[in-house]
């Protein structure tokens, strides 16, 4: 991605040359024939080439790098992931220095997109001490019903996820929770259960990268 940004300005310079190409004349829609066969579509799409592809008056040819807006391929390793010994890293370093220097000067001209959610930027507080963890576990073990995860998180001012990491509810409690969930699910109709199954399948597909 990094390399694409850097080269982008080069590409855009080209567009400024006056595009003298004749804009394709559009026949009125009524008289246009259906593009029902390959040959007709090909004939309809036969547009004059973009000026970039015409050799300029100066005669020397040039490289056009104008990739479509596409999802970056996983085979193009980001610059940061390149190992130190990789030749591409050395080649790119000089350009990086030049671009990073003007970054500071132009007060962070390329603003980073906003974080996906506030959660992303939270600071980890690490404020729970060991004793508190012990206490949390006892409370949880003693009375899982009243001391739910959210209550404990509120009490110790930490993330519920952290509470779940620290203490495990007793099997009976888990058993009861599962039964409760089963009851809820049994009340679902076919549409909802199917939707939930689909969602589960989509999750697996996503993990396999097949979504």
């Amino acid at each position: 991605m990094e390399t694409r940004q850097v080269l982008r300005p080069l590409g855009s310079l080209k567009h400024t040359t006056p595009s003298s190409a004749v804009t394709p004349v559009f026949r009125s829609v009524a008289s246009r024939r259906h593009q029902s066969t390959t040959s007709r579509t090909k004939k309809a799409l036969k547009l004059p080439p973009h000026p970039d592809f015409l050799t300029p008056q100066s005669g020397q040819n040039h490289v056009i790098f104008n990739p479509p807006a596409a999802a970056p391929s996983v085979y193009h390793t980001p610059f940061k992931f390149l190992p130190k010994s990789d030749p591409r890293r050395q080649a790119n370093l000089s350009q990086l220095l030049r671009s990073s220097s003007d970054l500071h000067t132009s007060s962070r001209s390329t603003e980073l997109p906003p974080p996906m959610s506030k959660l992303e930027m939270r600071e980890r507080k690490y404020n729970v001490t060991k004793e508190q963890v012990e206490e949390m576990r006892q409370l949880r073990a003693a009375d899982p019903a009243t001391w739910s995860v959210l209550k404990l998180a509120e009490k110790f001012n930490c993330r519920p996820y952290f509470v779940m990491i620290c203490c495990k509810a007793s099997p009976e409690h888990k058993e009861m929770e599962n039964k409760r969930l089963e009851d809820i699910k049994s009340r679902w109709g076919t549409i909802r259960t199917k939707a939930r199954e689909e969602r589960q399948k989509r999750k697996e597909l996503l993990l396999r990268g097949a979504l």
């Binding site: 999802a71 980073l112 997109p113 974080p115 989509r202 993990l207 990268g209």
Partner: protein
């Protein structure tokens, strides 16, 4: 590879006959060398019209005839294995076509030319490569030995190419990639693409150009380099977990466990075939063994660099999208552990663009940034899915790093090879 201790290995390689007969072998050096002698010194064939075929070949090994005949008459090889010293009338039909019939088979000659094999590889060797151990249990006339040699060369070239081309691949992915290039299903397709047809049933009258194997008879699974684990039985019974590093040491190049061996016989021998496990798919195994046998024959007759070009042009030229092999469990956590290990800035998911947030089908494009650098981006129906997809893409981008066309270790075998430039070796996958 096979569970063969080094000591036993040399004996197996040297032994030209079933290992159980304690014979001293003088001239032959490798099991595959037998096939050279097999071909050079084949006596003039009895006219094929003669029903009784004499399939004997003279080997210079001083094999005492008694050692041969005291062997229990195994059901498969109806005719006792002959030696030049004792060629006697075998009235039962031969299990596979007579080796000299290969010289007259047009199908075989056309297959030989289709693979553009060099003329150094004689037709009887190719005919032998087409005979599966299930069709003819006699080790001199089936392709077990050739396939074994071929398998080791093939797996060497494939693994070497994979590891140097994609150094950061996790071990499981390397096993899967090895299987998809040099495994049975792939080699089955390669054999079919060469135009090899399977014979209906093995027999003497079959055209040597067909691949002969029997579905009901045991064949020889190419147990690649690997050892049967002590706890092999329990693994199968209780489905214990096998650690990844233990697979590297014990299992075969495709990560499969070697089934517990029944007897301590040599892997590829005449008597051994009777107890071999029945294939679940004999056809695929036969086709795969044929491809390995061809590679073995090339190595035997033309040397290692011809083998390398053959493997490169026929097997490694096949295309596989490695990014389809990955299946992640918790990609976000793995990515944070990665950045932590590489002491990059912790990954932050940033929303690049979105559309249709209030519509029925919103699309969020999330990019993952480590500090100021964007690692990857992905689109999803909701924020969490988009973030997970982006994390998966980032991990793939990390694992699928490739230093490009760097030199392979086997290049240095050539005389005029350039000095070896060390390839990039990665620290390894993120194991939490």
């Amino acid at each position: 590879m096979k569970r063969i201790r080094i000591g036993q290995l040399s004996r197996q390689w040297l032994a030209t006959t079933p290992a159980r007969s304690p014979t001293t072998t003088t001239a032959t050096t490798t099991a595959s060398r037998v096939s050279i002698l097999l071909l050079l010194s084949r006596p003039a064939p009895a006219p094929t019209a003669l029903h009784a075929q004499i399939r004997c070949q003279s080997t210079t090994t001083a094999i005492t005839p008694e050692a041969i005949f005291d062997e229990p008459e195994s059901k498969e090889s109806k005719e006792p294995p002959e030696e030049s010293a004792s060629s006697h009338q075998a009235n039962s039909p031969l299990p596979s076509p007579h080796p000299d019939k290969a010289l007259r088979s047009a199908k075989l000659a056309s297959l030989h030319a289709r693979l553009s094999l060099s003329s150094k590889i004689p037709l009887p060797t190719l005919a032998r490569a087409l005979v599966d151990p299930s069709a003819d249990a006699h080790p001199y006339f089936n392709n077990a030995n050739l396939a074994y040699v071929g398998a080791s060369r093939l797996q060497y070239h494939t693994s070497e190419w994979l590891v140097t081309r994609y150094p950061r691949l996790p071990m499981d992915i390397i096993f899967a990639a090895m299987k998809s290039f040099a495994g049975e299903p792939a080699l089955h397709r390669v054999a079919r693409s060469w135009g090899v047809e399977a014979a209906g049933a093995p027999g003497e009258e079959v055209d040597p150009g067909y691949l002969q194997f029997a579905k009901d008879k045991p064949s020889v699974m190419m147990h690649k380099w690997g050892y049967a684990r002590a706890e092999a039985k329990e693994l199968v019974k209780y489905k214990w977990r096998r650690g990844m590093s233990s697979r590297v040491v014990f299992d075969d190049p495709f990560g499969n466990t070697i089934p517990p061996k029944k007897t301590n016989e040599v892997e590829v021998s005449d008597a051994r075939n009777t107890k071999e496990l029945l294939m679940e798919d004999a056809e695929k195994n036969a086709h795969a063994n044929f491809v390995r046998a061809v590679i073995g024959a090339i190595y035997l007759h033309c040397g290692s660099d011809t083998t390398k070009t053959f493997v490169k042009s026929h097997i490694l030229s096949r295309q596989l999208d490695l990014s389809n092999l990955f299946e992640f469990d918790l990609p976000e956590r793995e990515l944070t552990r990665l950045c932590d290990r590489e002491n990059f800035d912790p990954p932050v998911a940033r929303l690049l663009s979105e559309t249709g947030r209030l519509s029925r089908t919103p699309v969020y494009v999330v990019g993952i940034y480590s500090g100021r650098d964007k690692l990857s981006e992905a689109a999803g129906a909701n924020l969490l899915v988009a973030k997970r997809a982006a994390a998966i893409n980032a991990l793939k981008a990390w694992y699928l790093y490739s230093p490009g066309h760097v030199g392979l270790p086997s290049d240095t075998f050539a005389e005029d090879a350039a000095p070896w430039k060390p390839a990039y070796v990665d620290i390894g996958e993120i194991i939490s």
